[in-house]
């Protein structure tokens, strides 16, 4: 029997959901227009008044807001309530530029934690579970979000933060952790460490993992599931909108349900801004309709994905999004071809290599070069140079088939590529240094 955290919302009819969204949207637009000068200017510039927004059908009339706006309005230009009503801030990792700061009222924190509670419940979590939160704590939303959700569900919560992997495993065993929350690359690393310690999945009581905050592939999911003996659930979120739990996966493991009672999704053509119909690939845009302190209308996430209202076997009616196929930030254009690191990762795992790799892109004599360092597979190690070079060529060929462009593959020692405890750095684009 499928368990829901909030059955009424999670299984609501489309008609009721649209009604709820419309009511909230109308109120939110009014709130934002009255209280945020930055937004008022944007809307005035586009000639849109709060009265023009009567239902979700009018959403497209609103201007977009982007990361550049958030940076421009840093630190509190988009704050919609007095600071005295805020109880917390979080911040983006700042890997792609200046940090962005998001504010939360107590209600904002409650609604966010409620979204995370839905995710934990969908992963089978109940008050009988022991939930180990190995996302980073601090400004990063990963730790705080899942921590709060775990409290709501009533799990025994282990606030481990990331790092100190031996201690993670010790606590996991001593306290009988059943649910692990962290980034997928850290989950893979915990799995590797477990095996290096001579342990098997039978030595831990894990049953589920909730992994997000960075792109990962289906192949990586299967490999983590095997190494930890769990079912691995994806979770999606972004600090600008709230944090993890904007969308979460159910037992079907095919796409994530968006908590659309709080966040209305749209898919747009990233070049023209035109709204695309359900089923088409495009950039994901969110409008937060319940947030008080830092409400964003039509925020462009840069994540490319597909939305679907197809009936889900879990009974939830919340709209689903596919795992992002890449971020337009991550997307590299190499010799005119769009390349996502996730595509390369897929090939590596298919070919029996570790998903730890480093991509280096450069421009030499006006031509783009793509070099991929891959950890050699010790089981395939041969004393013959020609065998090893053949492995490099075969892998380059498989990647070429996937991408349409030829990379240079370099085999390096096992475990010589730095493992990450947070977001993995997999791409070095040296072309940017020349510009």
């Amino acid at each position: 029997m499928e368990k829901y955290w909030n059955q009424e919302i999670e299984t609501m009819s489309l008609e009721d959901m649209r009604k709820l969204q419309s009511e909230r949207l109308v109120a939110q637009v009014k709130h934002v227009y009255e209280n945020v000068k930055y937004y008022r200017d944007l809307m005035d510039e586009k000639g849109v008044k709060p009265e023009d927004i009567q239902s979700v059908d009018d959403l497209h009339k609103l201007p977009f807001i982007s990361k550049a706006d958030l940076r421009e309005a840093y630190p509190d230009g988009l704050l919609a309530v007095p600071k005295s009503q805020c109880v917390r801030i979080h911040s983006t990792s700042g890997t792609t530029g200046k940090r962005v700061v998001a504010f939360y009222t107590q209600k904002d924190v409650d609604l966010w934690e409620d979204c995370c509670a839905r995710a934990i419940t969908a992963a089978g979590g109940t008050e009988d579970d022991v939930c180990q939160v190995a996302y980073g704590y601090g400004l990063f939303t990963g730790g705080a979000g899942l921590h709060g959700g775990s409290h709501k569900v009533g799990c025994l919560t282990l606030p481990m933060s990331s790092g100190n992997t031996d201690r993670q495993i010790t606590f996991m065993r001593d306290l009988g952790t059943t649910i692990l929350c962290c980034t997928p690359s850290y989950a893979a690393y915990i799995g590797e460490t477990l095996h290096e310690m001579g342990l098997t999945p039978d030595d831990v009581q894990l049953k589920a993992g909730i992994f997000g905050a960075e792109p990962w592939t289906e192949e990586m999911r299967r490999s983590i599931e095997k190494s930890l003996g769990i079912k691995a659930y994806d979770i999606y979120g972004l600090t600008e909108i709230s944090g993890p739990g904007v969308a979460f996966e159910c037992s079907e493991q095919k796409g994530m349900h968006i908590n659309e009672d709080n966040f209305i999704p749209e898919i747009i053509n990233p070049e023209t801004g035109e709204v695309l119909p359900e089923g088409e690939v495009g950039e994901l845009v969110f409008t937060s309709i319940t947030k008080e302190a830092f409400p964003l209308l039509r925020y462009r996430t840069r994540d490319l994905c597909v939305l679907s209202r197809k009936k889900c076997s879990c009974g939830r009616t919340l709209i689903k999004m596919t795992k992002p196929m890449g971020r337009s930030d991550d997307m590299m254009i190499i010799r005119g071809v769009n390349v996502f690191p996730s595509q390369i990762e897929t090939v590596l795992i298919e070919q029996g290599y570790s998903p730890n790799y480093l991509i280096e892109v450069d421009r030499i004599n006006n031509s783009d070069t793509l070099d991929i360092s891959v950890e050699m597979n010790p089981d395939q190690f041969s004393d013959k140079v020609k065998d090893m070079q053949q492995q490099e060529r075969a892998l380059a060929e498989a990647i070429k088939t996937m991408l349409g462009i030829s990379p240079k593959v370099h085999l390096v020692s096992p475990k010589s590529i730095t493992r990450s405890e947070g977001k993995a750095v997999r791409v070095i684009d040296k072309r940017k240094l020349h510009d």
């Binding site: 010790p378 190690f381 004393d383 140079v385 090893m388 390096v412 096992p414």
Partner: protein
């Protein structure tokens, strides 16, 4: 059969990679009898024959190195002109395909020893026997 076990180690093409392997071997008191290093643009393959193959593999593997053990043929021939050419003729005559070979120090200064890596050890050993070439066992080498 008198095949000799050779250990191959994957080493990155970066400074100090070989040093790391050599230090581990030195610290464990293992003696290297024969050594060669094949290198490519990206990586190197260190091939060694030691006086304790199992222990060496264990030490290197637990330090995280990729290691593989292959059986090779080792021979000793007089140190005079034309001897190696004779060996190659013998192998070629039997259709044995040579992958690589390297020389190492024997115990006599009138003889020279070689490690020979072929695809078909059985065929190679039979051909060398027939040609009267002295083959070394792993024991012979560790006692050198």
């Amino acid at each position: 059969m008198s095949n000799v076990r050779q250990i191959s180690v994957f080493v990155d093409n970066k400074p100090n990679q070989l040093t790391g392997v050599m230090k581990l071997i030195k610290d464990s008191g293992i003696n290297i009898r024969a050594l060669s290093l094949a290198d490519t643009k990206d990586f190197g393959i260190l091939r060694i024959i030691v006086n304790d193959t199992d222990k060496t593999c264990e030490i290197l593997r637990s330090a995280g190195y990729a290691v593989t053990v292959t059986e090779v043929v080792a021979i000793t021939i007089p140190d005079s002109p034309g001897q190696l050419s004779r060996v190659l003729d013998i192998l070629g005559g039997e259709g044995v395909n040579l992958e690589y070979l390297y020389a190492f120090l024997g115990k006599s200064d009138r003889a020279v020893s070689f490690v020979i890596r072929v695809d078909d050890n059985t065929n190679a050993a039979a051909a060398l026997n027939k040609g009267g070439i002295i083959q070394l066992t792993e024991n012979d080498i560790s006692e050198m």
